[in-house]
Amino acid sequence: MAMLEVNNLSIQFGGLRAVDGFQVSIEKGRLYGLIGPNGAGKTTVFNLLTGVYKPTEGVIRLDGEDITGKSTIEINRAGIARTFQNIRLFGAMSVLDNVKAGLHNDHKYSTLAGILRLPSYFKAEKEMNEKAMELLRVFGLDGEAEYLASNLPYGKQRKLEIARAMATNPKLLLLDEPAAGMNPNETAELMKTIHFVRDNFDMTILLIEHDMKLVSGICEELTVLNFGQVLCQGKTAEVLSNPQVITAYLGE
């Protein structure tokens, strides 16, 4: 069974069908790319998948479970985590605390235990610290654990967002333009990190990206979106050589 199975997903804003009949099937462990020209509706698809918008039509299944129309929080608990095109970190919190906020539902203890500093507080906090540091190490951020998130350089902020999403222990990771604003060296490093995450955490990853080098370098399959509709779907090399796709990108 596919990890993510989306059928006939649509949303209408006023008279505009921003996403129209979107469908995709992503196998577990796949590195999948969602590409398309600006305004094609890629981020809207992410917002539909994560419950930020409620779809007008369609069904979303995660690992067999129907998550259509659920809230962002429920969907995260069901196993989808994401990053944002315009970075959304907890800017005034430390890098470590950003990741620990991601661990919120993983290591629970009651508010009262936290206020009274009961043993469950110390035990859970210790585990959270260890797990968070482990994640930060994966992303090369362990040296900056005490920095305020907003003080990190841009590239590292993007990585921290991925680390925070990973902390929620997802089945499916959605990355919205992870390489935006990065220089070629940073992008190359990011590609390695994404591969590492997929391999070591057995993760399924769906990413939106404009950087064709990154897309062709790591995505195994692609969906091309144009004017809210699926233009083409399949293996990366085939999709990228499809004349329709080239037209959509370069114009007539």
């Binding site: 981020t43 917002n47 930020v52 944002f84 800017g91």
Partner: protein
């Protein structure tokens, strides 16, 4: 007949709320901030008129013009000095707290200049009282003027926003500030203009408020200001007709509450309206549903 008489009082009070609410709703719609000091600009306007007539001996018309001009300048200055530097602040709490500071500042400057004791406001508007139904219903001149002023201002403002270039700029900035800037709209001057209009109207509201309820203290503007904000929320924040309808409804509710329930809890009723509106229809009667962009 007492019902009609209360209704008339309610519409009159509501018209004043409506004029104040226009200032709130425009600033909120365009600058996306709650200008807490707006109510206190009303008080400043009323004090200027009072001082101009009693101390400087100016004619009522000149005094009103002076008050409108001074309040307009005051509004623009407040925006430039206190609010503009915070427009891109990371927290929108910052500008809200600053606005409270400005409100406090205006009250306390007035306290130092004019003292804490209540001044009785002079008669500025001389329109004869209308007597109807053999004296069963009397409508004071000020009531007629207030309602007329409210209608004129509302129509004028609607025309201004819909038919003029600066009006279109206001609409553009309220829709999407960044996009408007990219399209060549001068966002700073548009916001300044909004504050100018709102504050000028506040001077008029001050005149009408103090003519209807002729006592003036440094705190005169605060409570009507807050109630007018309730009216703006009621009507749907950002909407000009909403401010008008919300204002009048709130005025009627307040007067009826005073007349038929208890004058001591009339304010509680007004504020309960706010909480109920926010529970049932947070966007108000005419408000648009705005979703944050992700």
């Amino acid at each position: 007949m007492s019902f009609i008489s209360y209704l008339k009082d309610g519409i009159s009070l509501g018209s004043i709320y409506a004029i104040i609410a226009l200032g709130y709703t425009m600033v909120y719609g365009i600058a996306k901030m709650l200008n807490f000091a707006h109510g206190d600009v009303i008080m400043v306007g009323a004090f200027v008129i009072l001082a101009a007539i009693t101390k400087a001996g100016l004619s009522p018309l000149l005094s009103i013009i002076l008050a409108v001009v001074l309040c307009t300048v005051l509004g623009i200055t407040i925006e430039m000095v206190a609010y503009r530097p915070l427009r891109k602040a990371s927290s929108n709490l910052a500008v809200l707290i600053t606005a409270i500071g400005v409100s406090y500042l205006l009250q306390n400057v007035a306290l130092l200049v004019f003292g804490a004791d209540a001044k009785s406001f002079v008669t500025v508007i001389n329109v004869p009282t209308l007597v109807l139904f053999d004296g069963q219903l009397t409508i004071k001149g000020i009531t007629i003027v207030t309602i007329a002023a409210c209608i004129i201002i509302m129509c004028g403002l609607t025309l201004f926003v819909n038919k003029t270039k600066p009006g279109h700029a206001m609409k553009a900035v309220s829709e999407d500030r960044d996009a408007a800037q990219l399209m060549g709209v001068n966002v700073n001057s548009t916001i300044s203009l909004t504050f100018a209009i709102g504050s000028g109207l506040a001077a008029i509201a001050g005149l009408l408020l103090c003519s209807a309820y002729p006592t003036l203290t440094p705190y005169t503007g605060a409570m009507p200001g807050i109630k007018a904000f309730v009216a703006a929320v009621f009507g749907g924040i950002g909407s000009i007709p909403g401010a008008m309808i919300g204002g009048i409804l709130l005025g009627v509710i307040e007067i009826f509450g005073k007349a038929y329930i208890s004058s001591q809890v009339a304010d509680a009723i007004v504020f309960a309206v706010l909480i109920i509106v926010l529970l049932v229809k947070p966007t108000g009667l005419f408000g648009k549903n705005v979703q944050e962009k992700v």
